[in-house]
Symmetry: C2
Subunit: 357 residues, 2 copies
Amino acid sequence: MAKKHILIVPGDGIGQEVTTVGKQVLDRIAEKFGHEFTYDEALIGHVAIEATGDPLPEETLVKMRASDAILFGAVGHPKYDNDPSAKVRPEQGLLRMRKELGLYANLRPIKLFDELLEASSIKPEILKGCDILFFRELTGDVYFGKRERLDDGNTAYDTMIYSKYEVERIARKAFEAARTRSKKLMSVDKANVLESSRLWREVIQKLAPEYPDVEVEHQFIDAAAMLLIKDPRRFDVVVTGNLFGDILTDEASQIAGSMGMLASASVGDSTGVYEPIHGSAHDITGKGVANPLASVLSAALLLDISFGLKAESEAIIAAVDAVLKAGFRTRDIANSETPADKILGTDAMGAELLKNL
Amino acid sequence: MAKKHILIVPGDGIGQEVTTVGKQVLDRIAEKFGHEFTYDEALIGHVAIEATGDPLPEETLVKMRASDAILFGAVGHPKYDNDPSAKVRPEQGLLRMRKELGLYANLRPIKLFDELLEASSIKPEILKGCDILFFRELTGDVYFGKRERLDDGNTAYDTMIYSKYEVERIARKAFEAARTRSKKLMSVDKANVLESSRLWREVIQKLAPEYPDVEVEHQFIDAAAMLLIKDPRRFDVVVTGNLFGDILTDEASQIAGSMGMLASASVGDSTGVYEPIHGSAHDITGKGVANPLASVLSAALLLDISFGLKAESEAIIAAVDAVLKAGFRTRDIANSETPADKILGTDAMGAELLKNL
Ligand SMILES: CC(C)[C@H](C(=O)O)[C@@H](O)C(=O)O
Ligand SMILES: CC(C)[C@H](C(=O)O)[C@@H](O)C(=O)O
């Protein structure tokens, strides 16, 4: 029996709706497998700015540090997107959280559910059997380098920066994962242009002999973005920087048919954070139609990675599979052939899922 | 009758093979339409390093400046990719050429030939009717910012930098193109994180009222990379920075089924450069199997944009269409149903094309 304290951080937009279902699933697992999970909740992003003026209030950070794992929603608000001059922004909360908690490794598994093979815009015969695990570096790169306005505001720069130890620690995680899978690692950079990418490539090349069983392939980000569509099965374990990882994993979400199905784990020095890769989606917020499965699968990752509860994690994945096999869909993964009575809202999809747990 | 001087710059890898066909097509056009084209040739990239030690020899630059337009091949060599510490690199020649000639606007049309609808890994029903024109900024961004090694070589940075005038001049080209098409412009940035992107977005927002007939949409690069697969028809005219444009246009090449079909124009202050978006492709160099159609379509762009010879340009596109309709394919655009005798090498494809001109 595990005794664990989980912090729920719904954040903005559909974050609240989907983490509600994620928490229900965790609750059911605790009950079924005889664990004791306690919960707390905290603010981040736009809702935190509204309440406290700070996108990552001190109270939230304290609660995060005191938790065994964090189930996270989303962060962002259109208000700031259209106002490039806003000084305080929801995303600052997210980025500061990653830095403060030392969450340098973002794992994004792209796993296809057979039932959804047709939901993708990519041909099913290209996708079949595709299974990718991305390692996106999360606390370095142009996300955290110095940025500034110059020339009376007429010039702006950001600094894309990496140190060898930052590349090494994420690369080791990726090499180790490759060992447990098909023993292939693709590293993505832009070493034909960028100095930070040449440093990245040097570190990977230097580590490779320590993992002689792993075959390493280097790709430029432009080629990788192209190959991911052309031949997704060529990808297995992929390691890349913060910015290229942001782009490549969002692109890869289309392999899975919808962002609504993809979970991610951010881990590093302390508490892990588990979140959907979809964003706050304000266009559908409050309508009760958001797909909760990415949050549910985030809960599954949480149990597996932070608590080592493999069977529990697999029970959740099996339940998701069962619900899909029974034909249930949220709007984002439905198609023209889905019968109307099988298209469920957020809560109804959660309820179906619980029936299968 | 036009009298023009064209510089052929084959560069590395398959560059030589494909520009040979591109030049044959230009020759035939001159003959057919009664123009007088004269030619010269110059070195760039790896071949220039081998011959002179410099990836962009002074002699090449002089010839470029003296030409009315440039038909370009490709640049790059695997030797340097695996040696992150190489000081002289083929790509430096390409980047310096762009800067020296002031080629700040890179136009990449993604046009589908009906015959190749099935060649893409994306479902034909998602693609049908898709027609995108990218404007990639080409002389700024992290490609030309300061870069350096620090801490005894243990840290490296690159500077992502934009000034307002750089954004404005490419944006105006894109706005004007949008006017002649569906009056929709998508601008892609990462303004939720990057200061240079916030400056980018500010400039676009400030220009928008001057083009009241054009509807502007802003997307983050991660979302754009995802939407391009999910719903490519949502894209019409797209404007973005150098790095994001590099990634997005390579990704978009998969819409057209193969990079082997895509041409690009780099224009700005002086002579325009016309080149395939595929690279040097050393894996197939010298085998005579490279697809020459991107070079041929680059020649078509050259005639249209640099010389204003619209009918001549359209004649080339019609010939490409005819050859595809007749069932001829190079290896990269063939599929399992293509009869063996319809799969042509580079020169044979060129010969078929000339028959149709
Ligand atoms: C919201 C944004 C700052 C964030 C990022 O770019 O990291 C998001 O896109 C993500 O991938 O988690
Ligand atoms: C070869 C490389 C430097 C170049 C770039 O990144 O600009 C290429 O990918 C391109 O798109 O023309």
